[in-house]
Symmetry: D2
Subunit: 390 residues, 4 copies
């Protein structure tokens, strides 16, 4: 386990949670003090402040990277050098170029490269994606993903130089991969339109962004990210298809509601803003946020010699979309997603079916309040639209 | 009352509902059959198929236009000619140019011109806007409005030539005015970025659209409209400010949930798709959709000799934003909102405050799970970010 | 309008709201100061501190009683004396005996007697009751109604001698009538089992109660009332039938959610406990709480010479059930509802249908996860239960 | 694993799920066919139709009982005979007497006896109980638990002779233990009032029941169970305390909403009634229903040589409360909970605090809509109640 910040803590808690058979053997931190405290708190046997030593350690089968973004590339190179399986936290890199080099490093070395995109693995998302793949909502038309909260917990996130950007990099990476999961990974992201602004915080990076991602099928992805949201952490996704709709809420409204005058006290949930009044905790935070299913997929994949659902290649695609977002925010127009290495099969355009009635095109069929049926028809010859009630 | 379609029905039901003192005296329809049936069903004394006769009628104080979009302009001219107060359904016109002529007509004639934008008047929106104006969520940063459903009920809506467009014109006009209400009407809409596509229906107009509207204050408006949504009619708005957040749901999730095996049967709600399983009706449809409060404002305004909250000028601004949406969808870039006649006072840019601690900029202050406080600081001299836990 | 407390204010606001044609002409209060202030705030022309004068006033067509419970009877007698229509706030009386005398007074005098039970008239309840009557949920099996909040706003409520009891009288009267509306008013309430306790407040009356009301059809009514609930005012009803289920939430979760840091401030909603954090206002309080539809029914009934949906007789039945509740809380067993004057037609026992398959009773038919169908059958001869999967 | 029904399947799926280190080695079923299919489907190495052989098997460390209620006792005796740890599904027994014998058997043999009460272990319940124990809602006043659905999946459940009763035994056992968890296990359940009826199904057992459980502290537990509910499986709990309120929804409203026209198809969720329209799945069924955390506690307890949170003693207390429910349904009055072996420490009555102001008792303090504060006071000498606004 490389890193003792919030993400390292969540990862370790997940790995050591329930009756899991996988264990963290050695933890790396730049600070001896934090490393020792982490071992004590989380029942980890060994620690080191030497990054390469942690990776090369004889008991280390798999390296889990929970370090700031600017350290990902060099760490992956060390994993490649020592032939260790590597699981890297999100975002994979700060740019697609960096991500591509990391992907090449892993593939050249023939090591396992897992991309730790947890929100794709939330139990609701897994089941919803399965529903979509089973055809329950027909062809996907839109997919929207939102992650907003009042801002991250560590200083380096706020420094665009270290992080590679603001909430697009921090949160948009989740949204993009959720959207891709609903769209289907064979469905090429073609172009991006993005707005960013720094409305509240005294920083260089954006603190709010909205992006549209147009896919090859014609379907539209949309994400909304913010570091200025008030009220906790809002994690919601929506998918609209020709035959249905799916709404998932992962955090603020999950059927768990608490009112407290403030007596008692204690930790409520990640990014909660208040400790009294109406609060909305989640049941099991690491399960709800996808960490449990994510590590299950990763370690099962390693055991079974298969690729996990989220690979370094996926991380690279995410970074390519993020790059297009920033280019679009600058150019103020749609920008192509530059993917030199596109591995998807390609998908057809969403089909618009034409149904006929009396030689006219059926636009809509509906039941009226009084029980009768109404057909809205178009005469393609004359271009005229008529209602037919029966 | 001009028009006997769904909107004319809703309007009349509202006016004749509860203990209201205002009454529909004469109804106009192109069809004698529909006019007669409407009178019988709604207890209206007189009908005519002569538009001008209805307007000129001695008992007509106020004309309510519930006609297709392409008939609005000529009808308003007739109202001006006969000096009658006029309330026109949304959208005011098909283009800003047309709307501007209608606005000029009304102002030149000195008649009352009310813009029947009902969703700005939903009880939740009225209270939420009052909250925003009272400062409960601080400065508005984002406002989003969504209206999606499976498509309108009358043939003319589907004909771009008659309607002036697709769901942007039909539904986006609501969303735009809701967003403006939250932003403040002095806050100039500067430019628009819009995506449209025709994904499902065999029509010329778009059936899906997303637009971003940038306001003078820096705040961002966002709307999502669709004629392909499955599951009913989704009417939701969200506003995010520096001090809070507001979410309103006007239709599909309002605390009224019904499961039925399908026995009994009957009308569920506007745009409901099914008559069995889990259904989500609303209590009082005309009240929840804003019709009641809208007509109260209109008739009170007429009685008191003041302007209503929604005037022909507002309708003109909405059309100007819609025009910019279509231009942007074509040009694929941000397009300015062209308002030759801008009457707003203007507002300043959202202020980004800088707070100092030990000579450094405070980026964030937060409580950690273990109860300690953390400051994230930026040293403006060196550009370095640090965490300080205490 | 008799009374200038919270209820008098809500009533007057309702009558003077929207484009209503009914007006409050004269208001009575025991205090001159409060009467004057009330007139000024609510645009009421006249006031008096003489109860009989207000009733006898030439402009008074209808008397609205918004006074404490112990004053209802004498006021109704004055209305009878002066031959004025009377609308009395809930509960009608403190006991069934008192209610019966009031009912007799009104019927003897031949005056209109409306029972102002607002929560039966909430828009959701009206529509839900209509659904039940239309058969959408089949035979009603259970109906539950809850009203809980942190306690009432005026001193007299807390005094059992004046009020006639605690939350059973104050809130249970609503719940009972909601339950009766779902059960059908022909369905006789047979017996009651009730628990009460005074858990928190230093008062003589109960501050918490739960009651079960068994109806003639076999259906069970259940109410839960409390003056110790934390978090606002919880108004929820549920009905379960053989073919469906209805859940209504009238106050705390109606699709309107606000988070505020506390800036701005202002009135949130009746019984709201906090002014910051997550708040749950309602759109239009007097409409959502049923006042609008209630007065519409009352004045329409007066105009049309018919009985309103809620009469003094209904108020009497409610009081009879309340009396049974208190008797049961004392005796700790089921107590009959004593109704000397029962006017309902009577209803049959809910029918348990028996369906046969191969000569056996079908207990259940269901679809299994693997898609197959399963029948659970009972052999009435042997008493044996078997699963048959096909 | 003894039993291959729905519960055996859920248990095995849980044990074999994620990266769990515990495995099912041998499965017992009365039917060879079901046993073989179960092994194949769930990757279980061995099967047998000989109950004692499964228990005595050399690889069996722990026996998991997933058999019908009437087989629990003899199976536990076999576990005692062979000295194997035993985990028994809920309810422990059909009566408290049977449960007591099983408890004695386990304690005499000195074997580990875990009570598999899953719903006490749902992630939300675990966190909510921790909140209550931390004092976040003050003293518990009420706790309500509901489990209702359209009826169980296997024939034996419907046979009162085999099952020991209807939904009180099947579902009430969950509710009772959830209520006890909120009340605190030292808090003695004193007496019970229960209503049962058979309203719909052609069976001897009840199909609906409501019970009140009074605890030593004065707090009231309330449960509602039904085999006739329409709309899926409703699993909701509520706790009200002097300082707060907790609402948990485990199944039908958990932030996961799907609308589908019915295309695609597939398994939705346990007890779901429809495959089209609005559906409400849960993310990870075995996690949400508590199976994961339950087995973690059980196996951790075995490893650590401690008692689990839910023991055979808890199962015995649950059965004693169930017995009191049936006695009360018969006698139609409050019945004492007969616990010959009560091991709780006992708790004091909920304290009603008295606060003084000017020598009077403060009944309530509240903020008025106009911003002023109001005190409601009682003069204990005169018994008079007054409002003091300041």
């Amino acid at each position: 386990m490389l890193g003792t910040g919030l993400i390292g803590l969540f990862y370790t808690r997940t790995l050591h949670g329930q009756r899991n058979r996988d264990r963290v053997q050695v933890v790396y931190s730049r600070s001896e003090e934090r490393a020792k405290a982490f071992c004590a708190d989380n029942d980890v046997p060994e620690w080191t402040t030497d990054l390469e030593a942690a990776i090369a350690h004889a008991e280390t089968d798999t390296v889990v990277i929970g370090l700031p973004n600017q350290l990902h590339e060099e760490t992956v190179e060390l994993c490649a050098k020592h032939g260790k399986a590597v699981l890297c936290t999100k975002p994979l890199a700060r740019t697609a170029e960096e991500a591509k080099r990391m992907l090449d490093t892993v593939e050249r070395a023939g090591i396992f490269g897992g991309y730790l995109e947890d929100l794709v693995y939330t139990p609701k998302t897994l089941k919803a994606v399965a529903s979509v793949q089973a055809g329950q909502i027909g062809d996907v038309l839109w997919a929207r993903s939102r992650e907003t909260h009042p801002g991250p917990h560590s200083a380096w996130f706020w420094d665009a130089a270290q992080a590679g950007g603001g909430p697009i990099v921090d949160l948009g990476c989740h949204c993009i991969e959720i959207i891709r999961s609903y769209m289907g990974k064979e469905n090429r992201p073609v172009e991006v339109m993005c707005w960013t602004d720094t409305l509240v915080h005294p920083i260089e990076a954006e603190d709010n962004a909205i992006a549209l991602i147009r896919f090859e099928s014609g379907a539209m992805g949309q994400f909304e990210v913010s570091w200025t949201f008030r009220g906790g952490m809002d994690l919601r996704d929506e998918v609209a298809g020709t035959e249905g709709t799916i709404w998932t809420n992962h955090f603020l409204r999950t059927g768990f509601e608490v009112f407290t005058s403030g007596s008692g006290g204690g930790y409520v949930a990640e990014k909660a803003e208040t400790a009294s009044g109406w609060l909305f905790p989640v049941g099991d935070e690491v399960a709800e946020l996808g960490y449990v299913d994510m590590f299950t997929d990763m370690f099962d994949a390693i055991d079974e010699g298969r690729a996990p659902s989220e690979t370094f290649y996926d991380g690279y695609v995410v970074n390519a979309i993020i790059d297009a977002c920033y280019r679009s925010a600058d150019s103020r127009r749609w920008e192509p997603v530059q993917l030199d290495d596109w591995r998807g099969a390609g998908v057809p355009r969403i089909a618009r079916e034409r149904r006929e009635h009396d030689g006219k095109t059926v636009i809509k069929e509906e039941k009226m309040p009084d029980g009768r049926s109404k057909l809205i028809l178009k005469d393609e010859a004359t271009g005229e639209f008529v209602d037919v009630v029966s």
